[in-house]
Point group: C2
C-alpha cells in the first residue's frame, strides 16, 4: 500500500515528538498501520529549528500547507485558536483528514468541524486533545461504544493536580506550590488557564460531547479553579477520609447532563485519590462495562505525540473509526444551580455555645442533612487570634441552589465571623 502522506503544521515540542516517534518506532507503526507513515512536508510560522525533518520539505506558510492537494492528513500542532481553526477548516474543506491536539478549537467549534469533516468525507482525530497519552477518546468512541454512561470523571489538568498534591504532601500553600510547579515546568508563567479550570473545561466539553452525545457546549460547562483551596481544608478533608482533587465531571441526570469543573473531595480509598503529581486519570461508569479507569501522563511532548500517531494509524487503516458527530439533540447541560452533590463546609465561627446548633438548624430547615462534622475545642489552624473555631461539616447530597440559600443564611449569623468555604464531595462509590 502507498505510504500515508502527512503534512505537519507546527514544529514545537509536541510536533518534534511526533517526528521522533514516527522515526524511532517506524517499523512497529508500519506493521500495525499496514503501511508507512511519511511526513512529506512541515510548516511552522517561526524559523526552522535544528531538527531533522527526515526528508520533509519546510516552509513558514502553514495555511498553504493545509490547502495542498497531495496530502492524506494534515497534523495541526501550532496551538492557539484563530490560525489553527482556519488551518483545520482549510484542510477539511479540501477533503484532507486532520489530526489535532488543540483542545480549545475542538471544545469551541467541535460540532462545526465534525460536520465539515463529514461533509467532505474527511476524518478529524483529536485523541491528543484530552489527557495526553491516555486512550480515552478512542475508548469512548469504540471499545465502550456499546454502553450508556452514568458519569465520566477525570483529573484532566496536570498543573492543578501537581499543585494540590504538593499542598497535601508537603503542607505548602497554594501560592508556594504554584511557584514550585512553575520552577519545575509544570505550570506556565501565567498559570490562569490551568489553575482556574479553563483547560480542564475544554477537555470536559469534549468528553461530554462524545460520552453523552451532548454537543460541544463549552459555554455551558461550569468552571471553578483551585486558587481558593486552603491547606487547612486539605487537612480537614484528610481527617474525614477524603483527598481534595480538581476534577471534571459529566453526569447524566433525569433533567439533563451535568458538566462541571471544580475542586472536589474524593474518598481516600478511591483510585482517583492515588493519582498524584502531573498524572491524569479518567473513570467512566457505564451500564454494561461497569467502572473502567484510565491513567497516564496527561501532557508532555512524547505522550501527546503518542496520541497523534495513534490517530494517524487509525486514519491509515480505517474508513470511519474516528469520532462521529454527536447528534447534539440530546438532553441539555444543566446549569450549576441544578446540580446535586454532597458538600464539605468550613464555617469560621465564634467559639460560643449554640453556634453549631444555629448552623445545624438552618441546614435542617433547608432539608440539608449532616453526614459528619468536626468541631474543635481550640482555634483551627487558620486562625491567628481571637475566640474563633472552624465548624467543619459534610452534608448529604443537595441541589446547589438550595445550598446557596442555606449558606446565605448561615453567613448572616452573628456567630459566623469569616467567609464560609465550601467544596463539593464526590463519593464515586464502586459498583462492581
Amino acid at each position: 500500500m502507498d505510504p500515508l502522506r502527512v503534512g505537519l503544521c507546527g514544529l514545537g515540542t509536541v510536533a518534534q515528538g511526533v517526528l521522533q516517534v514516527l522515526s524511532d518506532n517506524a517499523e512497529g507503526i508500519a506493521r500495525r498501520a499496514g503501511r508507512q507513515l511519511q511526513v512529506v512536508a512541515v510548516a511552522s510560522r517561526t524559523a526552522k529549528p535544528e531538527v531533522d525533518l527526515g526528508g520533509a520539505t519546510f516552509s513558514t506558510d502553514v495555511l498553504t500547507l493545509a490547502g495542498r492537494d497531495d496530502l492524506d492528513v494534515v497534523v495541526e500542532l501550532i496551538g492557539g485558536e484563530d490560525t489553527a481553526l482556519q488551518l483545520v477548516e482549510t484542510a477539511l474543506s479540501n477533503g484532507t483528514h486532520v489530526v489535532t491536539g488543540n483542545k480549545a478549537i475542538v471544545a469551541l467549534h467541535g460540532e462545526r468541524l465534525l460536520s465539515l469533516a463529514s461533509a467532505n468525507s474527511a476524518h478529524l482525530g483529536f485523541e491528543a486533545a484530552v489527557a495526553g497519552g491516555i486512550p480515552i477518546i478512542s475508548s469512548l468512541t469504540n471499545a465502550l461504544a456499546g454502553n450508556a454512561h452514568e458519569w465520566i470523571v477525570g483529573i484532566i489538568n496536570g498543573t492543578s493536580n501537581f499543585i494540590l498534591t504538593a499542598m497535601a504532601e508537603q503542607g505548602q500553600s497554594f501560592s508556594d506550590a504554584l511557584e514550585e510547579a512553575q520552577a519545575l515546568g509544570y505550570a506556565e508563567a501565567d498559570p490562569t488557564f490551568d489553575v482556574e479550570g479553563v483547560d480542564a473545561a475544554h477537555k470536559l466539553t469534549i468528553l461530554t460531547a462524545l460520552g453523552f452525545g451532548a454537543g460541544f457546549r463549552f459555554d455551558d460547562v461550569y468552571v471553578e479553579g483551585i486558587s481558593a483551596i486552603a491547606v487547612e481544608d486539605i487537612e480537614y478533608a484528610r481527617q474525614l477520609g477524603y483527598v481534595i482533587k480538581h476534577i471534571g465531571m459529566a453526569r447524566r441526570r433525569a433533567a439533563g447532563i451535568e458538566a462541571r469543573v471544580h475542586p472536589a473531595l474524593v474518598p481516600q480509598s478511591h483510585l482517583l485519590s492515588s493519582i498524584g503529581g502531573a498524572t491524569n486519570a479518567v473513570m467512566v461508569r457505564s451500564n454494561a462495562a461497569g467502572d473502567t479507569f484510565y491513567a497516564g501522563a496527561g501532557a508532555g511532548a512524547l505522550p501527546t505525540a503518542s496520541a497523534v500517531v495513534g490517530d494517524l494509524v487509525d486514519i491509515s487503516k480505517s474508513s470511519a473509526r474516528l469520532p462521529r458527530l454527536p447528534d447534539g439533540s440530546a438532553t441539555p447541560l444543566l446549569p450549576i444551580d441544578r446540580v446535586e452533590t454532597e458538600y464539605y463546609l468550613r464555617i469560621p465561627s465564634l467559639d460560643q455555645p449554640g453556634a453549631f446548633a444555629r448552623v445545624a438548624t438552618i441546614l435542617s430547615e433547608c432539608k440539608i442533612s449532616i453526614e459528619a462534622a468536626i468541631q474543635r475545642e481550640q482555634a483551627g489552624p487558620s486562625l491567628d487570634e481571637g475566640q474563633w473555631v472552624p465548624i467543619v461539616i459534610l452534608t448529604h447530597a443537595v441541589e446547589e441552589q438550595v445550598m446557596n440559600r442555606a449558606l446565605a443564611e448561615v453567613q448572616a449569623l452573628p456567630e459566623v465571623v469569616g467567609e464560609i468555604t465550601r467544596i463539593r464531595v464526590e463519593q464515586l462509590a464502586v459498583t462492581n
Copy 2:
C-alpha cells in the same frame, strides 16, 4: 446504511448480556456505529432458555449458523475449544467477520485464525478475550500503535486476585479464601484453570502477541499459580512494603521477550497494589506514551458483552481496524531460566548463630546481593514447634537460573529445616 446482520452462537450469560446491551443501548450504539446492529439468528447447542431474542431465529446447530452466507458477523460465545474453533474457522473461511470472547482458541490458534481472516478479507475481534470490559486490546492495537513497549503487566485473573485480596485483608488461608470465592461465585467448582494460572497465561499470550509482535506462543509462557502462597508471606511482604499479586508480565529484554505468569511482590505504593477483589488491571510502559494504566471488571456478563459490542461497532464502521497479524518473526520468548527479577525468599532455618551468615555467603558467592532482610528473634508465624526461625530476604535482580543454583545450595545447608519459599518481586518504578 443497511443494518449489520449478526449471528450469535451461544446463549449463556455473556451471550444473553450481548442481547441485553444491544437492546438497552440500541440508540446510542446506532449513533456511534453509523447503522443498526441487528441479531438475526441465534444458535445454541442446548435448548432455548426463556430469553427474548428480539425477533432472531433460533436453532441448535451452531456450525450451520456459522456457515450462513447472509450474515455480516458471527459472534462466538459457546466457550470450550474444539467446536468453538471449528465454528470460527467456518465463518472466517466464508469471509464472515468473527467476534469472540474465547481466550483459549485465540491464545492457542491466534496466528492461524488471523491468517485465515486476512486471507478471506474478514476481521477477527477478541477484545472480550482479555480483561473483560477494559479496552486493552483496542488500546494496544490503535491508540498506542505509535509506541514500542518496554513491558505490559496485568492482574488478569479475577479469581486469583479475589483470593489474594481475601488472604491479605482477612488473614485467610488459601483454601479458606478459595472456599469463600467459590461460595460467592468468583471461583468455579474446579478452580484449577484460574488459580494455577492457565487462564491468565491465555490472556498474557494475547497481550504479548499484540504488544510485541511475538506470535501467539502459549506453550512458551511460564505459568505458576497462587496455591503455594502462604499467609505469612503476605504478612512479611507487607512489612517490607509490598503486596503479593498474581500477575502476567510480558517484558522486552535484549535477548528476547519474557512472558510469565506467577505471584509477585508489588510495591504498596504502586497503582496495581490497590486493585482488590475480582477487578482486573493492566499497565503498559511505552517509549512515547510512558506508563498508561487500565482497570475495570475483568469478567461478568455485561462487562464482557460491552467488549463484544465494541468489536461489533468497530466492524460496522471500519474496513480494517481490528488487530492485525503480528509478524511472528520478532525476538523469541525467553525461557524462565533466563528471566531476571528480584526475589523474596523465606528460608526456614534453625535458630543458631551463623545460619544467616551461611545463607548470605552462598548468595554472595553467586553474586546475588541482598536488598533487605527480616530476622526474627522468635519463631515465625508458620512454625509450630522447635527452634526454627524464618530468614526473610529481598534480593536485587538476578537471573532465575543463578537463583536456582544458589537456592539448591542454601536448601542443602544443615541449618535449613524446611522448604524455601521464593516469590518474584516487580518494582514497576514509575518513570513519569
